[in-house]
Every structure is written in structure tokens, then in C-alpha cells.
């Protein structure tokens, strides 16, 4: 089939008639599938069921250092968990604090802390007339929701295939001292699934922010989440790079086991410089007596060490790789050559990013919904839910079973074709087109 844009009005109309007939059919199938969020599927969750019995009523819940995990204490987490997550995050255990079950929670609390108490002695952000964050776009909606909640003005920065456009980041950060942070998902990014290249990371570590309290919010959510054994992205470790660059305090790095063990029952962590850590602890000492050490111990006993975690992640990959490949092959089969959309083929993470013709994303997602397939809301990948080109859609392949996913993606590509044909008809040929 030739590109839609090269079709005549008659050809497009004929195509649309055919597509709509197909759409009627799939609507009749009564599909009801929510693939709006990046959730692991049941098979993936089953991989961690062994974690439910590494501890039993006869277990010794004492740490190597003698701490009874059942009682109060150990604000920074138990040493063996800091070691395990240190290996996972490629950081020194002493630079790590283990938190509760959610790294998103840690990010929220971090913004909240600097909002009320400032960064390392600087003015609390709540006392400043304006606070801005850079938001590489498309990006993660829950990041944007946090900054929006605090009234932080979000400035979109375009993503490139190698990471955020660093010319823009460097310029903005060095010129404007009301810019206090940037959201980053540096590896297998949400939603593109791309990883920042070496130069990008090096330039991040060498930023010269006008604001002394500027911090990089480095959400390394998918550090372990490769799809392939021998074909993996590599990311330069940012803390070490910042240290080498003479900017040790520039970054807060977040991670968790949410998509390694159980979402909601994993353990989260930050890694950061000693100065930053002291800042975190000042807050933390008042916020809690300590996080769930039994769950920390459970994770350590389950994985034993980082090798155990790597093996575990291989099993996740075996489950979700076919799903990513199915999405990509249906997109390729149904849309290649039509020039009505492009998509990423990531080597890891939880998402595939799709870009439609401008002005079509909302319509595509609405059509899919009417046929029983709930995608992430169009616009969600932009601050304030406002995708100016209305073209970006996040595809989350992990949760549905393969059969459902295949059906859902066929519905999706059908919706892409309908929206695109309608748009081209109405725009290029001036034809009024009714739904």
C-alpha cells in the first residue's frame, strides 16, 4: 500500500469505508482491555512468589550486624539491602538510603522537603516567587503530576534519540536560576524506551546551573529491565560521573524493585552524595523511625546477591520480550510504508512510544477506547497533559496476555489508520468528513 499522503481523495475515501467496516467488526468483539499503565502481568508476578517463603516462623530475622529486623531502627536501611541495591544501582552502599515500597513516593517527598526546607541550606522553594523544572518530553506523567501539584512551572525540553536536547538543557539551566530541577528517566526511558548516550550523561554531570539548589532527578526505574541478553543499552553511572566532574551534589538518583518483585511491595532507594544524604536524613529523622526492614531482608534472602537479581530479570524478559516484539511486528505489518506514524523499538523498559500524524493522538485513543482498548490518555506524556502536536501515544505491552495484546494492537493500528485517513482527507483535500 502506498503512503496515505500520496493517495487521492477517492482512494482515501475508499480506504476509510473499508477501515470503518473493520472497526465495526472489532467493536462487535466486545474487547475490554486496560493497557493504560506499565503494569507487570500475572506471570511476571508469579516469578517472585518464592519471596513469600524465604522467611517463615522459624527464620532468624537478624541482620549481619545484629539488628533485629522486626524492631525499630536502622533509618538508612539494613546493610545487606544497601549492598544489594548498591549493586543494582552501581553505587556504594554507603551512598544509599533504603526507603519504603515506592520510589515515586521518595521523589514526591524529596520535592516536598525542598519545598518546605530547601536544598542544603538554600531558601525553601515555597518562599520563592517562581520555581521551574525542565521536563524532557515526551516523559512520565506521574513525574509531571508531582511538579504540577506543587505549582512548579514545567518547561518542556525535546527528547532526541540520545536523551534530552542538551544544548537546550545547558542553556536554560545556566541562564535561569528559577530552574531548580529536571526529571530524567535515563535508561529505557518512559515512554520512548531509549537510553541516554555517554555524551548526554557527561554533559549532565558537567551542568553549570545558575541555581545553587538545582538538582537532577535521575529516576533510574529501568536499570535492570533489559529485554535481551546480548543486546543491551549501557548507561554511564551518574553519581560517579558527577563526582569526576567536580559536581558531586548535582544529582538525586532513584530506583526501586517495584518492577522486579512486586509493584507496591518492593523496596525503593535513593543514591546521592554525602552532603545530599545528610539533607535527606534531616527530614527522614523526623518523618519516620525506619522503613520496613523485614521486607528489605526478604528481598535480600530471596535474591541472595545481584547475580540472583540478574537471573530473575532474565525471566521477566523472557515473558515480556515476545509482547514487545508482537507490538512492533503488528505496527510494522499494519503501518509500515503508510507514513502515518513512527514508533520506537526499545531494548528494555516498559513502553513503546508511538507518534501519529499531528492532531490524531487524542482521536486514536478515543477510538481505541470505543472499541474496548484503554490506552494511556493522549497528552499524558506531556506536562499539564498538553501535547502541542497531539501526536504522542504511550504503548504499555506488558500487562495483557499475548492474545489480548495482538487483538488490542490490531484495534490500535486500525484506529491509527482511520484517524490518519480522516485527517488527511479533511486537511489535504478540504473534505468534510463525518465520524
Amino acid at each position: 500500500m502506498k503512503p496515505y499522503v500520496e493517495m487521492t481523495a477517492e482512494e482515501l475515501s475508499a480506504e476509510l469505508v473499508e477501515l470503518k467496516a473493520q472497526y465495526k467488526k472489532v467493536q462487535a468483539m466486545g474487547m475490554n482491555l486496560d493497557m493504560s499503565r506499565g503494569k507487570p502481568c500475572q506471570e511476571q508476578l508469579d516469578l517472585s512468589m518464592g519471596m513469600m517463603e524465604v522467611l517463615d516462623s522459624t527464620s532468624d530475622l537478624t541482620c549481619e550486624d545484629g539488628t533485629d529486623c522486626r524492631n525499630y531502627g536502622q533509618l538508612t536501611g539494613i546493610l545487606e539491602a544497601r549492598e544489594l541495591l548498591g549493586d543494582m544501582m552501581e553505587n556504594n552502599p554507603k551512598d544509599i538510603i533504603i526507603y519504603g515500597n515506592s520510589s515515586l513516593n521518595v521523589m514526591f517527598d524529596t520535592i516536598s522537603r525542598v519545598w518546605t526546607h530547601g536544598v542544603m541550606g538554600n531558601t525553601p522553594w515555597c518562599r520563592l516567587p517562581e520555581v521551574k523544572f525542565l521536563c524532557p518530553v515526551p516523559g512520565y506523567d506521574r513525574h509531571f503530576a508531582i511538579t504540577e501539584y506543587f505549582g512548579i512551572k514545567m518547561i518542556p525540553v525535546p527528547m532526541t534519540p540520545t536523551g534530552p536536547d542538551m544544548d537546550i538543557v545547558e542553556k536554560l539551566v545556566s541562564e535561569d536560576d528559577t530552574i531548580k530541577g529536571i526529571w530524567c528517566v535515563p535508561k529505557y526511558s518512559n515512554p520512548q524506551g531509549i537510553s541516554y548516550d555517554d555524551e548526554t550523561v557527561r554533559r549532565f554531570a558537567r551542568l553549570e546551573p545558575a541555581a545553587p539548589d538545582f538538582r537532577i532527578f535521575w529516576d533510574n526505574a529501568y536499570g535492570m529491565h533489559h529485554l535481551y541478553d546480548h543486546h543491551q543499552d549501557h548507561l554511564i553511572e551518574i553519581l560517579a560521573e558527577c563526582k569526576r566532574a567536580g559536581n558531586p551534589d548535582l544529582v538525586y538518583k532513584f530506583a526501586s524493585t517495584s518492577k522486579i518483585t512486586f509493584p507496591g511491595s518492593g523496596i525503593a532507594a535513593i543514591a546521592t552524595s554525602p552532603n545530599n544524604m545528610e539533607d535527606f536524613l534531616t527530614y527522614l529523622r523526623h518523618q519516620t523511625i525506619g522503613h520496613d526492614k523485614v521486607n528489605q531482608l526478604r528481598h535480600v534472602r530471596f535474591f541472595k546477591d545481584i547475580h540472583g537479581m540478574v537471573e530473575h530479570m532474565r525471566k521477566h524478559a523472557d515473558i515480556i520480550r515476545p509482547k514487545f516484539e508482537a507490538v512492533e511486528s503488528i505496527l510494522e505489518r499494519d503501518l509500515a510504508g503508510l507514513n502515518i506514524g513512527s514508533w520506537t523499538c526499545p531494548l528494555g523498559g516498559y513502553f513503546i512510544m508511538f507518534d501519529s500524524l499531528p492532531g490524531c493522538a487524542k482521536d486514536i485513543v478515543a477510538r481505541a477506547k470505543k472499541a474496548g482498548v484503554t490506552m494511556t490518555a493522549a497528552g499524558a506524556t506531556w506536562p499539564y497533559g498538553n501535547d502541542p502536536k497531539d501526536s504522542n501515544i504511550r504503548i504499555a505491552p506488558t500487562y495483557p496476555c499475548l492474545a489480548d495484546l495482538n487483538n488490542a494492537m490490531e484495534i490500535f493500528t486500525l484506529c491509527v489508520r482511520i484517524s490518519s485517513a480522516k485527517k488527511l482527507l479533511s486537511e489535504k483535500y478540504g473534505e468534510a468528513s463525518q465520524d
Copy 2:
């Protein structure tokens, strides 16, 4: 022995010589015991080891409503946990949100939330020139630490044997709209172990605060923590009372299973009105995707229902009741009639409160420390660590074994006698007295 105050200088001096000789002996014992915090002992922790195996690798981790506890979701907690904690807190499950592992964390986050976003549409407290809290004294140091951290001015309100002095509370709250909250531990209070009587709770529910965003922070930490089966304090349920009084939104009620199962690995909750809950959820929706549902399920499966929890608390009581009684009997044996101190004999909770002669508490605690017994720091029970009479000491009997506790209390009463004798000697008789 006659009251110290009735002794002559010679008698006191002779007593002091004798006491110091005893002190030298106990110092030589090389005791090393930390009884500074209200921690459960190992035997108590052992009671909950069964919780480690109610879930295993073959368990179905699905809730009654079909929610897979292993995956994301259920921001307010799983229904069966809300029901269990509803029974525990005497509240409707629909008025309850289950949190993570720490109610202190929920209290901190609550202050943080209103600091940045205000109470139900009112001005965020960070924008106000002054924010004050009433602090019934003596009280809980970690409460005071939170309000101090946020720069909230703390106003001590005297505790009576039936709760805070409500005449003062009513007057201050109705006159001063910068007073935004009050810290309460209404049952088996920290550190007195007393419970608010019916009139006190009714007057709380009928407060007419000048500030529309005034809230009672009702930390019902010890609701289930009776020492005796048939001799228990009863506390009127505050939410219901507020509702009856036409003040449904007046209170935030906090609780947790920290001292029921494992401190640090329990589950925490708030109970509050629908309006307040919506306020909490606005924040929570941005802070997290959900708390640890597997741990919620673990608690529910372990206790089954409130009766299971009541039975479980009976076992706790059997372990710690002898410790409370030992403390009380040593205090009675060593100090009764000397008129140099008074103490409470609570029916539940985690603490016994001791009041020394004015100006002696710091000295007593320091002397005990030098003999190897670490008590809660003198002053800790007052805002800013400032006990104006320097007389209040919190005794935490639960953690040490009975033998250690007996030794520790003998050291303690010895220190009380030394400090008191020295004080009376130097004050009443003008004698210079060297340590």
C-alpha cells in the same frame, strides 16, 4: 524512713554517704542497658512470627474484591485491611485509609501536606506568618520534633489525670486563629499512661476553634494496648463524637500495628471524615500509586479478625504486665514515703511517668547513664526538650528482660535518692555539695 524534706542536714549527709557507696557498687556491675525508647522486647516480637508464614509461594494473594495484592493499585488500602483496622480503631472502614509501615510518617506527611497545600482549601500554613500547636505536656517527643521541624510554635498545655486541661485548650483555641492543631495521645498516653475521660473527649469534639483549619491530631497509638483483662480504660470514639457534635471534620485520627505485630513492618492508618479524606487523597494520589498491599493481606490473614487481634494483645500484656508491675513495685519499695517523686501506674500503653523533685530530672538521668542505664533524655517529654521544672522522666519498661529491668530500676531509684538528697542539702540547708 522519713521524708527527705524532714531530715536534718546531718541525716541527709549520712544518707548521701550511704547512697554513694551503693552507687559505686552498682557502677562496678558494668550494666549496659538502653531503656530510652518504647520498644517491644524479643518475646513480644516472637508472638508475630506466625505472620511470616501465613503467606507462602502457593498462596493466592487475591483480595475478596479480586484485586491482585502483588500489583499496583488500591490507594486507600485493601478492603479487608480497612475492615480489620476499622474494627481496631472503632471506625467505619470507608473512613479509613491504610498507609505504609508508620503512623508517625502519616502524621509527618499530614503536617507537610497542610504546610504546602493547606487544610481543605485554606491558606497553606507555609504562607502564614505564624502557626502554633498546642502540646499537652508531658507528651511524646517525636510529635514535638515534627512540629519543631516545620517551625510551628509549640504551646505547652498542662495534662491533668483526665487529659489536657480543657479550660485552657478551649480558651486558647477559641481566641487565637494562629493555633492550628493539638497533639493528643488520648489512650494510655505517652508518657503518663493515662486516658482522656469522657468529658475531655466530649469537650474536644465540641471545640470552637477560631481557625477554620484547626485540626486535632489524635494519635491513638495504644488503643489495643491494655495490660489487664478486666481492668481497662475506655475512650470515647472521637470521630463519632465529633460527628454527633456537628464538628465532623475536626479530627485526624492515627493508629498502627507497630506495637501489635512488628515495629517497622506493621501497617498504619488514618480515620477521618469524608471531607478530610478527600484532602488526604488529593495529596496521596500524587505521592504514591499505593502502599504495601501484600503486607496488608499478611496482617489480615494472620489475625483473621479483631478477635484474633484481641487475643494476640492479651499475649503481649502477659509479657509486659510483669515489667510494669516490677517497675511500680521497686519505685514503691525504694521511694514511697520519701516524698521525692511520684509516678503513674497505668493500665496500658508503653510508659510509666516519673516526676522528681524540681531540678533533679537531668541529674537523675545523667547519673543513671553513668551507671550504665540509658533512660529517655530528661526534657524529651516537653517541646524543645525544655522541661521548665526539670522534673519529668519517662520510664519505658517493655524492652529489657525482667532481671535487667529490676537492676535498672534499682539503679534508677538510687539515682533519684542521690539527686534528691543532694538537692535538698544544697537548697534547704545551703550546704555546698560536691559530686
